[in-house]
Amino acid sequence: MHELSVAQNIIDIVKENVPDTDYKHVNKILLEVGEFSGIVADSLLYCFDVIKSDTDFLNTKMEIKKIPFILFCNSCKTETTNNAGIRMCNICGGYDTKIISGIDMKIIEVEVNT
């Protein structure tokens, strides 16, 4: 349950990347959230709605694109996945794998009404 502080971080980062005069015109913030990033998307959306009401981002929408959990198996030399967040390759059953995506959380872009 740290979505509230995450929502605050997002506003801080957006402020650093958008000119002050455009804060009010930010339509949308696009995020990529990994399936196993430890963040609950609905909860983050809710927290963002709560804290934005006191800011210039009152009319800003947040859109979350979910990023699947993907592994690279060093034995099969191929990308694989599973829905448990485990490091096991679904093809060969081995554990010599590397996580490619699905555990991070990124701000991709903002859309500004000009």
Binding site: M1, N9, R87, K106, I107, E109
Partner: protein, 216 residues
């Protein structure tokens, strides 16, 4: 309509601060672990046993993180090591900024081993780098063998797993081999220790591992 590309990690502010703290630890040759677990798994008890064993060999300091009270800091103070209590007032995890502030009260020069005891929580602390060398995850046998599968992120981000309360194995429905298998399926690189703070079993081995990581 204009698009401004940002492409930044949401927690990068924390990560930047953590990397500054890490540099500070490096300069001072301080080995740092961030202890994470659910509430009640034995973080403070393992810390106490560890300090007992090591305090005559190396200089140790402790940062305690709790939602409320300084009860843990008081427990650790009895061993005459420097300890700083962080009270998060409801916050579910420690962040790098809190650790940075706590470090104002610790002179790292002589400290070879710093333990940051995180808030008891198997979810949120996983995502926050505190500048530590590694995360040590403690899971007690009473919590059950399925926990690695239910809380994968913490297992992905930790390097060490201490299975604590092994003296209770005969009384609880937990197969330690299954527990290890589950944990290693999430993160095959985990180094596993088994301990009991009641009998003292396994504490020696864990302490030897710490000594092997100390930079003099």
């Amino acid at each position: 309509m204009g698009i401004i590309t940002i492409e930044r990690k949401v927690l990068e502010k924390n990560d930047e601060l953590a990397s500054q703290i890490r540099d500070k630890f490096k300069i001072n040759n301080t080995f740092v672990v961030n202890i994470v677990s659910s509430p009640g798994s034995g973080k403070t008890s393992i810390l106490e046993r560890t300090i007992e064993k090591l305090k005559d060999k190396i200089k140790i300091a402790v940062i305690e993180g709790d939602v409320q009270t300084d009860l843990d800091a008081k427990r650790v103070e009895r061993y005459s090591v420097p300890v700083v209590q962080i009270v998060t007032n409801g916050g579910c995890h420690l962040e790098a900024k809190l650790v940075k502030d706590a470090l104002e009260n610790i002179d790292l020069k002589e400290i070879r081993f710093l333990v940051i005891e995180n808030v008891g929580n198997l979810v949120c602390p996983a995502g926050y780098d505190l500048g530590e060398d590694l995360k040590v995850l403690i899971l007690s046998t009473t919590e059950g063998e399925d926990k690695p599968l239910k809380y994968p992120k913490m297992f992905i981000n930790s390097s060490i797993l201490i299975i604590n309360k092994i003296d209770l194995l005969p009384y609880v429905d937990c197969n330690i081999e299954n527990l290890k298998k589950n944990a290693l399926s999430i993160n095959p690189d985990l180094v596993v220790f088994e301990t009991s703070c009641t009998t003292g079993e396994g504490i020696e081995k864990w302490c030897e591992w710490i000594l092997g990581n100390i930079k003099y």
